[in-house]
């Protein structure tokens, strides 16, 4: 199922792409391609972080414990980042859940090999620190977004962030999934989706969401979207 990636394969993951060629070549033998399957959990709270994942496509949601076993999304990571940042920060087990929210592929690396490389490569370590900062900003933004913004604006932001990371205009999502993402009841998810549909920003049927007016959706999204995007752009990618 998994295979080691070749040096000629295109690298879409922005962290890996930003590495100097020599450092990237050194990583290659340890990177293996793995599919990201919708709904698959990469870590659950308490799991050992066996691998770190660099998505080439697809998206992973980071969820915090909410109540009665429920989880709530606090961040999204796609090809701009890495899943398993806790390992980089020196922690062996995950405190959050990371679940695939948009299918795709990732390059994964065993944690021990990854940590050894972090010690060797100053650039990798620098990029990961910057990514941690950016994730930190995103999670902070989520905290206030949940406090202040109406569900449909949050849905619009969430869709924008998702579509930015997926090379498609259509995604499949259940109401239950969205309900966990947005921290609202299913009825409220439905209501928010209907509002965005009435404004002709998306079309929504049986879990398929198609974006029909990207600019409109961006305008509808709460300001958190722009703030997070600015932070991501400030990355020193090269």
């Amino acid at each position: 199922m998994t295979e080691t990636t070749g040096s000629d394969d295109p690298i879409y993951n922005r962290l890996l792409a930003a590495l100097p060629a020599g450092e990237y070549r050194r990583l290659l033998p340890d990177l293996e391609q793995t599919p990201l399957t919708y709904g698959e959990s990469l870590y659950d709270p308490g799991d050992a972080i066996a691998y770190v994942y660099f998505p080439n496509s697809g998206i992973v949601s980071l969820l915090a414990a909410a109540q009665d076993e429920a989880m709530l999304e606090v961040g999204i990571v796609g090809r701009e980042g890495m899943i398993g940042i806790a390992a980089f920060l020196g922690v062996k087990t995950s405190s959050s859940r990371a679940v695939v929210q948009g299918h795709g592929f990732a390059l994964r690396m065993k944690t021990a090999a990854f940590l050894a490389e972090c010690r060797k490569s100053e650039m990798l370590s620098r990029l990961l620190k910057r990514f941690t900062q950016s994730l930190f900003a995103q999670i902070s933004q989520s905290a206030v977004c949940y406090r202040f913004h109406p569900a449909e604006d949050r849905l619009a932001r969430w869709l924008m962030m998702t579509f930015d990371r997926m090379d498609t205009n259509e995604i499949y999502l259940t109401q239950e999934f969205l309900s966990n993402m947005l921290g609202v009841r299913r009825e409220a998810v439905n209501k928010s989706a209907v509002i965005l549909q009435q404004q002709e920003l998306i079309s929504y049927s049986r879990g398929n969401i198609t974006i029909t007016n990207r600019e409109g959706l961006e305008t509808k999204a709460c300001r958190c979207y722009a703030v997070i995007k600015t932070e991501e752009k400030s990355f020193p990618v090269k």
């Binding site: 109540q67 930190f136 902070s140 202040f148």
Partner: protein, 244 residues
């Protein structure tokens, strides 16, 4: 700005106390004592950071400022932590405001001295990174808490967190200050505080909240309080307990 001095032992801060002797000795002379007044802004959102702060008796809040001026606290640090992770994570600016929530003392360290020691990759380095992970958990939990839990539960959580960082049962707090922290209207705080007072868990008189019944607050608050506490112990406990 001329900073007021104090004579606290830097090791009243648990992270500094957790350092091995040689690492602490290298930092010691660069740790500058500062006394911080209530409401003092340590840094503004987007501002270049010059210092990292290790509180001993002060509490510093990380506040998020919305475009319309509304604020909400996303995290707090007292003698259990530090303020200014952007300095060692390479960002050097930060998307939040840091403001003194409870007056007291701290030690600050200039960026250069911080990075010199951080780059030695000793325990200082490890502790700072682990603290970053802890702060991420704290903020993640605050996100979930903001969405799901009542003002009363969140007020209890906030009072417990503050109480944990202070050496007293009396907290100098106005409802306005708490409202800005919780991101709710002042009336919301007054109602929630009124409920807690009727249940004889706290008493609020003219800007002072006295905590009577911690256990009572713990029974009302949401699980977020415990989740974050346990995460601190899990991530930093082995360092902290070793030296205390």
């Amino acid at each position: 700005m001329r900073a007021a001095k104090h004579t606290d032992d830097p090791r009243m801060n648990h992270l500094l106390a957790a350092l091995p002797g040689d690492e602490f000795d290298r930092l010691k002379t660069d740790l500058e004592p500062v006394s911080l007044a209530l409401g003092k802004v340590i840094y503004e959102s987007g501002e270049q950071l010059e210092y990292i702060y290790f509180p001993t008796t002060a509490i510093i809040s990380l506040l998020y400022i919305m475009e319309n001026g509304s604020t909400a606290e996303i995290g707090m640090a007292g003698n259990d932590g530090l303020v200014g992770i952007a300095l060692f994570m390479g960002g050097s600016t930060t998307p939040n405001r840091a403001v003194v929530q409870s007056a007291g003392n701290a030690f600050r360290l200039r960026s250069k001295a911080l990075l010199d020691e951080f780059q030695k990759s000793g325990e200082f380095h490890d502790i700072l990174l682990r603290y970053t992970q802890y702060l991420m958990t704290q903020i993640s939990q605050t996100a979930a808490c903001n969405r799901l839990h009542s003002v009363e539960q969140r007020l209890c959580r906030w009072l417990l967190n503050t109480h944990d960082l202070l050496q007293t049962n009396k907290l100098i707090m106005t409802h306005d200050l708490i409202a800005n922290m919780l991101g709710v209207r002042r009336e919301g705080v007054s109602i929630a505080a009124g409920n807690l007072q009727r249940e004889e868990l706290i008493k609020y008189v003219r800007g002072t909240i006295t905590i009577f019944d911690r256990k009572g607050l713990e029974s009302i608050t949401c699980e977020c309080y415990k989740v974050v506490k346990e995460e601190y112990d899990r991530l930093l406990g082995k360092y902290i307990s070793k030296n205390s």
